[in-house]
């Protein structure tokens, strides 16, 4: 393996010097890894419910002993899930159904990418707005106990 390929490990996480789609790709990948690692811990955590009420409460107490670290962790997980889901829906529309991409044409100077037209930009910015709004709500709920809807 030569040096040029090794630089890809770190450079692949650098979204600058590309366009908007590269940012969504990088975020999709980072949030995906966060969620996959959380999933392993989460399945193990939920297993403790089979130990009965005493075992479950002890597990919850050990987790809440982490204090604000646990809540900030949950907030990061919530944001990751929101972003990965919303962006994943856009990717399914793009790559499975071919929507939002516009009609193909011959490349013309200055060779702006056809895959990043007006519809794609609207979709990406809409996703960002919705995810940020829901993430703020999740943060108020987790860290301050606010935003609870009582019917």
């Amino acid at each position: 393996m030569n040096k040029r390929y090794k630089s890809g490990l770190f450079n692949s996480l650098n979204p600058t010097r590309y366009n908007l789609e590269r940012w969504s790709y990088t975020l999709h990948r980072i949030t995906g890894v966060i969620l996959a690692l959380f999933l392993i811990a989460h399945i193990f955590e939920i297993y403790h419910v089979t130990l009965g009420i005493a075992g479950w409460n002890q597990t919850m107490e050990e987790l809440s002993n982490l204090g604000v670290i646990e809540l900030i962790g949950m907030w990061i997980i919530a944001g990751s899930a929101l972003y990965h889901g919303a962006n994943g829906l856009r990717l399914i529309l793009n790559e499975v159904f071919g929507l939002l991409l516009g009609k193909p044409r011959l490349p013309e100077y200055p060779y702006s990418p056809l895959s990043l037209g007006r519809n794609q930009k609207i979709a990406i910015y809409t996703i960002t707005l919705i995810v940020v709004a829901l993430w703020i709500w999740a943060g108020l709920y987790l860290l301050a106990g606010l935003g609870i809807v009582r019917w």
């Binding site: 890809g8 996959a36 999933l39 809540l71 949950m74 899930a81 399914i92 987790l142 935003g147």
Partner: protein
């Protein structure tokens, strides 16, 4: 790839439901949403939905992790090691999750 899209599409519905159960829309605080009775009620009452979520999330998540590891590490002829670790991890997680859902 189609597997990832299909499982992702399933999870958009199932995981939204799962997140709604612990969301502020239930009128509970975060600690109340994690109380033993509420968690037990959800896991038994929506057992099938959580079963679908368990299998979809584990296969989608660990397959994604496998792809990320292969692209970052360029394992070449050692790729089978990554595949083997992922398959063993996947089997362990599915066994543990299935046991949790059935034992309740």
């Amino acid at each position: 790839m189609l597997l990832m899209y299909a499982l992702g599409l399933i999870m958009i519905f199932v995981l939204t439901f799962h997140l709604l159960l612990v969301s502020p829309l239930t009128g509970r605080t975060f600690a109340e949403a994690l109380s033993y009775n509420y968690v037990l009620h959800n896991l038994t009452y929506f057992q099938v939905i959580f079963g679908i979520l368990l299998y979809a999330a584990t296969i989608h998540g660990l397959n994604g992790l496998r792809i990320v590891l292969i692209e970052w590490l360029h394992p070449g002829k050692y790729q089978w090691i990554i595949n083997a670790i992922i398959i063993v991890l996947m089997a362990m997680l599915l066994a543990l999750g299935t046991y949790t859902l059935i034992a309740l």
